[in-house]
Point group: C2
Chain length 414, copies 2
């Protein structure tokens, strides 16, 4: 098994006190070690950075002082996790992650509440999705509770980086990469699972500007049997060139379509919702998002929006801004651009919005589709938001920042 | 532009003697520097490795002593190239290549001829394809002649690593990765282009064993509008899980199919050819490979096989082993599994083979398809190879090793 020798030489971290050479000799009698938060080694930076001023940071450009690093080897399992100063990874040039895109990630946020408590939003869903993504590219599994415990620890260590200003949060990026360093096109038998953090401002810093979407274009983001339903690195760089082309036409993002029926999948790297009133009754409101058919990322914000809208429709809660005369119906179903164009020509399209961890909720201002411009009404009194978009965004932010409790979605970091 | 600050701090290499800070200030008056082989800095290792014994190396597991590293920044351009001791890359954990699979690569080989000369095989095609792949994921362009000059220099520096044994060569892996270190899903404005080398043995070390292919399976390798026609990292890790499933069923590789007509695309990470005799005349031989429709890698070995077979069919050259009574017809056209199954039931399928830089040419022993096993005749006298497979392989190796000259395909390294 010469492939593992280089790797083993590079990574001399022993676990449970047993040197790797012995572990190899012991063979099947030794179980690979699980990820164990109790073994965490914390090495605090001697030179904490100066916090950036709130005006000066974009999305994920200023990293915090520390990072979590956990290394895996198929023979010895997970080494003792480390929380240590943020810094570069040392990777063999032949590493599987660099050659074959053996890489998956998550996006999460830590929020500072008005009570001074730090909270994560439904983090167990990020752990589950990260495990699913890892399985999709044959990366190792891990104890999901253990990783969440370690992430909470990291956030606590870097707590001073969570801005207290309204709408700000700490963006977390758990990532797992394959580190096998040989050129054979085979799964990686070693990996690094790491988490880095960067403070994040509100998406709309200088007033809301609804986003514009170009439906279609030359690229196709995902395909049945592909990886569109998982958060794998390979879903993203192929979208850069189509995105540049859309920007040249004056659009912010691509509304990715699929198939001969031009069905809507994702908007940029976000999920998409549209709000339509019925032909026969203006108070019956359909809110539609495409179904999870394997070409669409199962967004946690998406799932939360569906759930909150359903709760509104059954009077379990009341979302602000939505007129009480409106009866809301939420649908996960195939949604095509020709349908949207038809509803638009009938004057029935009320709002559209995109959702994701980074943006939370963003109103859509227009959609370009085969020469047609679908322009959404401007809700000036709500700063560009339609009532459903505004109502769902406010409630989500209230839950995320710990201003309202809802079904245990917001989890304290202590 | 805060995204570039971190990067600029990490990469202090100045080009043309102008510090980067000045370059920034100079703005548009300063052109980004081109990749320049004359600026190469060669730093030889003080401790050359012991050469591995021929029996002990697999595919790409033993790296040579040195590597070529060229760094790029959208403001200053290409820094002075470096040939330096093989070693790990230092990468920010937020690097675009790790998060968004902003990574492309090439596979090439250097061959030691009977005259003691080192040769590359049609390397200008690898340079062109690398540039095309880079463009597909918005990575920077480079002077292709300059990179080839630098690769020749690297191969010369590590010449002792090219085994003199028959069938052995030095595998080269040019790679370009995006190194932008912020989380926004946008193109990378910085990159590293590097080349690493590993000696490679003949694919069939202990006698030929024709490969078995499972046609279909759950995964889809590529699709129109995707990246299947480019050598990007993202094409590979999504195939690991389907590959594991095929291996569990006893097959070596997947024969990737696409679409409702079950058309053949690639075999593992190789191109596929099939040899079929005509119904009405056993001496009319059709050799078919799928067309470059954007879902198939434009293989350099594939293109060379097509060209050599065409030359055989027009009597420009004569491939050994192919009976002189056979009239060869080469086709790039859609090829479906139901077609192959039909020809097989008619007793018309003679041979199939896969081609690629690593394998050169490999005979196919069987194809599993929806419960059917298409078993290829065993050519015992040729060690498992049918006459076309054997003839094309021998001629390719003759050209690659410099034993026969052909249209300038084999390029000396000096």
């Amino acid at each position: 098994m010469p492939a593992t020798i280089t790797r083993r030489e590079q990574n001399k971290t022993a676990i449970t006190g047993i040197p790797k050479e012995l572990a190899v000799k012991a063979g099947s009698r030794l179980e690979p070690a699980p990820l164990d938060p109790e073994q965490v080694i914390i090495d605090l930076t001697p030179s904490p950075k100066t916090l950036p001023s709130l005006e000066n940071f974009g999305f994920g450009e200023n990293k915090t002082d520390h990072m979590l690093v956990c290394t895996y080897d198929s023979i010895t399992g997970w080494a003792a996790p480390e929380i240590k100063p943020y810094g570069p990874l040392s990777l063999d040039p032949a590493s599987s992650c660099l050659q074959y895109a053996t890489s998956v990630f998550e996006g999460m946020k830590a929020y500072l509440g008005p009570d001074g408590e730090i909270r994560l939003f439904r983090p167990e869903l990020n752990m589950q999705r990260l495990a699913n993504s890892a399985a999709r590219v044959a990366l190792p599994q891990f104890d999901q509770d253990a990783l969440l415990t370690l992430i909470k620890r990291l956030v606590t260590v870097d707590a001073r980086w969570i801005p207290a200003a309204p709408g700000y949060s700490l963006y977390l990026r758990p990532t797992m990469i394959g580190t096998r360093s040989a050129f054979g096109v085979t799964p990686s038998d070693s990996a690094i699972l790491y988490v880095v953090c960067a403070p994040a401002g509100p998406y709309f810093r200088s007033g809301v500007k609804p986003i514009s979407l170009l439906a279609g274009g030359e690229g196709v983001r995902a395909w049945p049997g592909g990886t569109g339903g998982h958060k794998v690195a390979s879903n993203y760089s192929p979208g850069f060139v189509p995105q540049i082309a859309a920007a040249k036409q004056g659009y912010d993002q691509i509304l990715w379509l699929f198939g001969d029926d031009r069905r809507v999948t994702e908007a940029g790297a976000m999920n998409f919702f549209i709000v339509v009133k019925r032909e026969d009754d203006e108070n019956e409101i359909d809110i539609i998002t495409p179904p999870l058919d394997g070409t669409i990322l199962p967004g946690i914000t998406r799932s939360s929006c569906i759930s909150l809208l359903q709760s509104h429709s059954t009077d379990e809660l009341t979302l602000s801004h939505i007129p009480s005369s409106h009866r809301i119906h939420v649908h996960e179903r195939i949604l095509t651009m020709p349908e949207i164009a038809k509803w638009y020509s009938q004057g029935r399209v009320l709002e559209a919005f995109t959702v994701g961890t980074g943006v939370v909720v963003a109103p859509v201002g227009k959609i370009g589709f085969e020469g047609l411009e679908i322009v959404f009404p401007k809700y000036v009194e709500n700063g560009g938001f339609g009532p459903v978009t505004k109502g769902i965004m406010e409630r989500l932010l209230d839950i995320q920042f710990g201003r309202r409790e809802w079904k245990g979605w917001s989890v304290r970091c202590d």
